[in-house]
Subunit: 209 residues, 4 copies
DNA sequence: CATGAATGAGTTTTCATTCAT
DNA sequence: TATGAATGAAAACTCATTCAT
């Protein structure tokens, strides 16, 4: 019974490092993050970062992998088959909206990774092969809507995904410059419901002509 | 005659530093950019950076200011009064679309500044007071469309600006992770026209119900 | 019967550590060798290194001791009494030559130990008292040659040993810089026989005037 | 006149670093040498090492290059044409002997570089193309001796160089293990003249059959 | 203004060794 | 004994900034 405990410790240590590092990288970016700072916020020591991850970059890659892994499963919350296509689509949009709003650090990591031209995702075997299952759900809804004669035909699911993502990501990712320039906090609760509805309307008005 | 020449030289030196620094900051982010690297790419020396800008952060702030200054004037290209509201709106959207596509470094700088929570924009007197004149044009179009009975009422111009920006920014800013995950380059010429039209349709279908 | 097995295991573990460590130290030098690397190449764990040897330095000392122990017995292959002195001397030289060529790791360890000014050998009770029995054989040959009137008199056996060793060691120890500078691999099979004969001639031409 | 002084300072700083680093690398080997230790022995700071050399390895390479450059010109001390071939050869051998004895750090660096399989020399464009001019002198002496009928024919100059080098290098390079095992310091003044004569005899007895 | 040398304070990384079970 | 986790101390290396001329 000794073995499992040690293993459990190792997992716990790794998990703590990932968790603290996620905050630090999301907060400061890759270059701005400090290994020392991550260490200072952990219950273990800096040496463990190198023991488990080898170097700063690999730690960052695993932070990314972990973040993406925690993000995937929107479609599982969605029982789309029992809804008519329009309701299903609005629900998908709203779920995505909520999902982004509740994962701002993930959005920040994605922004950071784009600054680095996704070179780390490219190097990660786990991430570069990551298909988004939500896309299948989306395609299914579009098909059903088209077959029912309520949705446009000729719509590429990935384009709709792009529209929804763009809106949801922008609110989070560009919040600060938007606020600095336009004096409006896109994440203020005042606008939350309006933005949610706006997104649904946007997509549905487009799909239903 | 010596004084003006010196002034001219000084302007030229400043301009070159700004230009080189813009590339470097847009490329690597604030923390990732190297003062030495900027210096190496200039025709003058590193000392000049400190002479003219004092430190790395102030250089970055002036890079941001310069970038925003070069971006503002979309509305000047737009003769909106001679178009009907729908056409004007589509044209505004497409101009914005083109504008973003031709200024990727600006988009990158904005992403970077958001990672830093717009703290530098906040500190810049020039930028924090920067209203976007395009917003006035947008508001005018919306008003005219509503008055003509072709647009929804109750539409906040800033929301429409947000929708348009979100789409245009997302294509540029999230290009790399999007490609890594979905194997599609959003900036590929193949999609350019489709995306332009998609954006216009999106906005107009929404505004016209 | 448990005790002997344990002892046997212990011996086997020690032997494996010594073997792996010999390669690593010979390959990288004392400071360049990595305890982790040695551990990674073993079937047992790093802890065993410390269990059996206490620390890196003591492991290195025992590697040296083991290497010297495996090297000693040239004279046993030599049945010098049935040869005339000249033949015996040439045979001794050639045996030494072959012996060095087939133990390059030992030569490397000796070079490494000289870089460290033989401080570890000095500390090793086993090694610092190590007389070279081949020297007795050499002295005996010289005596017989002098008595037979074919060899010079006044020749110090240790000087001849030095000459032979110098040549044999140099080929191995300085192989790489020699090749880099003179573009000749002293260990190439093309030169092997020539070098062997050259060494014998050198010693005999000197001893026979 | 300001420029040359700054340049002079730079050269002086570089030279001091090389000088101190030469001692440190020769003393401890590549892996054993400490950049901090080198810095501590300089009048400037560690930062300068990286300013001028980039990293430890490049510093080591330049130490090697500098050491080889300081070693080359034995043949210039040798007025070989006015001597008969035997005297010339003995003089070359003795000059080489003296030269090695007075440059023990160089010999140590060569030993160290051989431990690293001459990988740094190979990477150095300066060193890998370094021909040894002494070899031409040696070849010339051999030719003249052969033509005069006093030397063997069929002797490869490089083999003679190897024999001489082997002897001279061995005394320095293997001094410590030799002393530990045989209790004789090959560099003791007591043996100096004997070894010098031994080397000359060895080569001449061989060449003159 | 201009220039290359210089630098202090940090930042990442490494390594022999020990601990807990 | 055996094992993987853990670690303190030190080592290599970096970077924005300043100095001397």
């Amino acid at each position: 019974m000794a073995q499992p405990d040690r293993t459990r410790d190792a997992e716990r240590t790794r998990a703590e490092i990932i968790q603290v590092a996620t905050r630090e990288f999301a907060d400061k970016g890759y270059a701005g993050a400090r290994v020392d700072e991550i260490a200072a916020k952990m219950s273990t020591t800096k040496r463990m970062i190198y023991y488990y991850f080898g170097n700063k970059e690999q730690l960052y890659v695993e932070v990314l992998e972990h973040a993406y892994a925690g993000i995937r499963a929107i479609e599982q919350e969605l029982d789309v088959e029992h809804l008519d296509p329009a309701d299903a689509m609005r629900q998908l949009a709203e779920l995505t909206f909520d999902h982004h709003e509740s994962h701002p650090d993930f959005i920040r990591l994605v922004s950071i990774e784009n600054i680095h031209r996704a070179e780390h995702i490219g190097r990660s075997t786990v991430l570069s092969g990551l298909a988004n299952p939500a896309l299948d759900v989306l395609a299914r809804i579009l098909d059903r809507g088209r077959e029912a004669g309520v949705f446009r035909s000729g719509v590429d699911p990935l384009d709709i995904h792009m529209v929804i993502s763009a809106f949801c990501v922008f609110r989070i990712a560009n919040r600060h410059t938007f606020k600095a320039i336009f004096k409006r906090d896109m994440l203020s609760p005042d606008h939350r419901e309006d933005h949610r509805r706006l997104l649904g309307d946007l997509v549905l008005d487009y799909l239903t002509r």
